[in-house]
Symmetry: C2
Subunit: 332 residues, 2 copies
């Protein structure tokens, strides 16, 4: 009973846009404890259910990818402050699969975005330090949903440039932005084609001072490369496109934001926004089913059976194929 | 009855080392047809079962990774010919996940290894053009088992430098070789740490003519980098190590082979060979179970249910989490 009241309070706090309530709610969805999981699902249900003020709220979800060194934190700081100055509320989340190994966190140090983290219209959430990719995806997805319920206008989902996490972010966001540093033309190959194909807008950062000419060349190179990609139905004329920005001087940030808004508006009008979100929901449904199926292997009698058959395989008394067939038959 | 005789004939052909029978057997394990799968499992069981001449045969399985341009085909050609000249029988297989998309095949063109492909002691098998990663892993694993049953002394498993396929190959081989081209010192970062950690021996190719000094520097750089890695129990003193070779002149190939043999012998004596193979068998058992579980989602009533729930998620009448919970409950 106390728990129910507590859950209702937390939901009300999140729906009212209270940042402390939001932080507590995210901690709840990140928890591995079974009772916390139940409470997290109840909270999400409450916020999205009929009668909730928060139901149906949608933020513009922007995925932001870029390898270390391209100036991602500085970009988020400048871009975020520009948006909050316009009265918009901005949340920043991180997807960092590598933190699972290093124990570190790409957003662990909020001082990287000192001003933004003190801005009352902003909410910055570091990546949790312990999680597997499946867990990271679920946690981030639910954190995004909580930020939307809390009425944030823009949710920035940051990731580092390693294949798998980009895929997760692409399935979470409405727009996918690739942030690059100025480089020699032949470094074009450093960006994987798959990541290029996800990008809606490529931003070449550090277009200031002595690096500006290089940034313009890099932008032109990528603009050319983007034209070689297959046309996607979700793009209006001229997209995907490449632009120059400087997170340090702020140059180009306004133009980049205008492009993002224009693309988002076009997709909303043409129905691509809704169909993308519907497709993402279907993806996450199937992913949850897959994760749940695999997780069940490591509990109760299935786990005992897996261990017993695994021991026979290790001992050489059963081939992997025969053992797998036996395991699958026992589960069917 | 005809099928049984045929299966027995095929098993006998493989066990006798007949290359055409081996090629037919690999085609069988690559097939997606259900009756072929049954026949493939029967064939593998026959070859590995008691009473089979082929039972217990072990090749030295060498995983070979290297990005395009390092001279992998030339290396395989020279290295393979050196081994066959010593009377050894050599099989070459490829793991190429990208071929699933491009429809191409890294070993599709046997003319890349013209002499080796005509050598009666060699067997070269291109990567199948259509497969998903799970399918590639199974197909390659079974093809390796068939090559062993056919009495090959060395099985080379080639892959390109993209993370996921390296992991598959590392779980299939006794030794993992990383082939590199000479490069500037700062290109060291181009090799992912995870792949470095898999390597038993790093070979810097093209150590001939004007590139030799660069190759020696690259070798020294990698030798230094390898020393920074955590010591692994499966390595004797001095391993993992970096060497220079030239696939064109043949320089260093004999020394590289001697190091491979010495490492393999040490691992056999110390039990690391057997425990690695046992661990791999356990890995493949669990992987087969996982693939089987996930595949079952897309058949029969499970598929219908997945589609029905997925449609409700797309329509917005059910959240992904609630739909997943319902799906999982129906499977339990």
């Amino acid at each position: 009973m106390a728990d129910r009241t507590e859950g209702a309070d937390l939901a009300a706090g999140v729906a009212a846009g209270d940042r402390r309530a939001l932080a507590r709610a995210i901690t709840l969805v990140e928890s591995g404890r079974a009772d916390h999981r139940q409470a997290a699902l109840a909270l999400l249900g409450r916020l999205r259910g009929p009668g909730s003020d928060a139901a149906g709220r949608q933020a513009l979800r922007i995925g932001l990818s870029g390898t270390p060194g391209v100036g991602k934190s500085t970009f988020i700081e400048s871009f975020g402050l520009m948006l909050t100055a316009q009265g918009l509320r901005v949340a920043v989340l991180a997807v960092d699969p590598s933190s699972a190994r290093s124990g570190g966190s790409i957003l662990g140090d909020k001082t990287r975005m000192e001003q933004l983290s003190r801005d009352p219209r902003a909410f910055i959430r570091p990546s949790p330090s312990q999680a597997q990719m499946g867990g990271v995806a679920r946690r981030t997805r639910e954190a995004v949903a909580l930020c939307e319920a809390a009425g944030f206008d823009v949710v920035l989902i940051e990731t580092v440039g390693v294949g798998q996490s980009e895929t997760v972010v692409a399935e979470l966001c409405d727009l996918f932005i690739l942030l690059l540093a100025p480089a020699g033309g032949d470094e074009l190959q450093g960006v994987k084609r798959g990541i290029m194909e996800m990008a809606d807008i490529i931003l070449v950062n550090k277009a200031d001072g002595g690096l500006e000419p290089a940034a313009r060349r890099t932008m032109a190179d990528y603009a050319g490369a983007l034209q070689l990609l297959r046309r996607r139905p979700q793009d209006p004329q001229g997209f995907p496109k490449a632009l120059c920005v400087s997170a340090t001087t702020g140059a180009g940030l306004g133009a980049a934001w205008a492009e993002m808004q224009s693309l988002a508006a076009w997709r909303r009008e043409t129905g691509h926004w809704d169909s993308r979100r519907a497709g993402q929901a279907r993806h996450w449904f199937e992913e949850e089913v897959r994760q749940g199926l695999l997780a069940a292997l490591h509990h109760g009698s299935a786990r005992d059976r897996l261990d017993a058959l695994g021991a026979m395989v290790v001992a050489g008394s059963l081939t992997p194929e025969a053992a797998a067939a036996e395991m699958l038959a026992s589960l069917a």
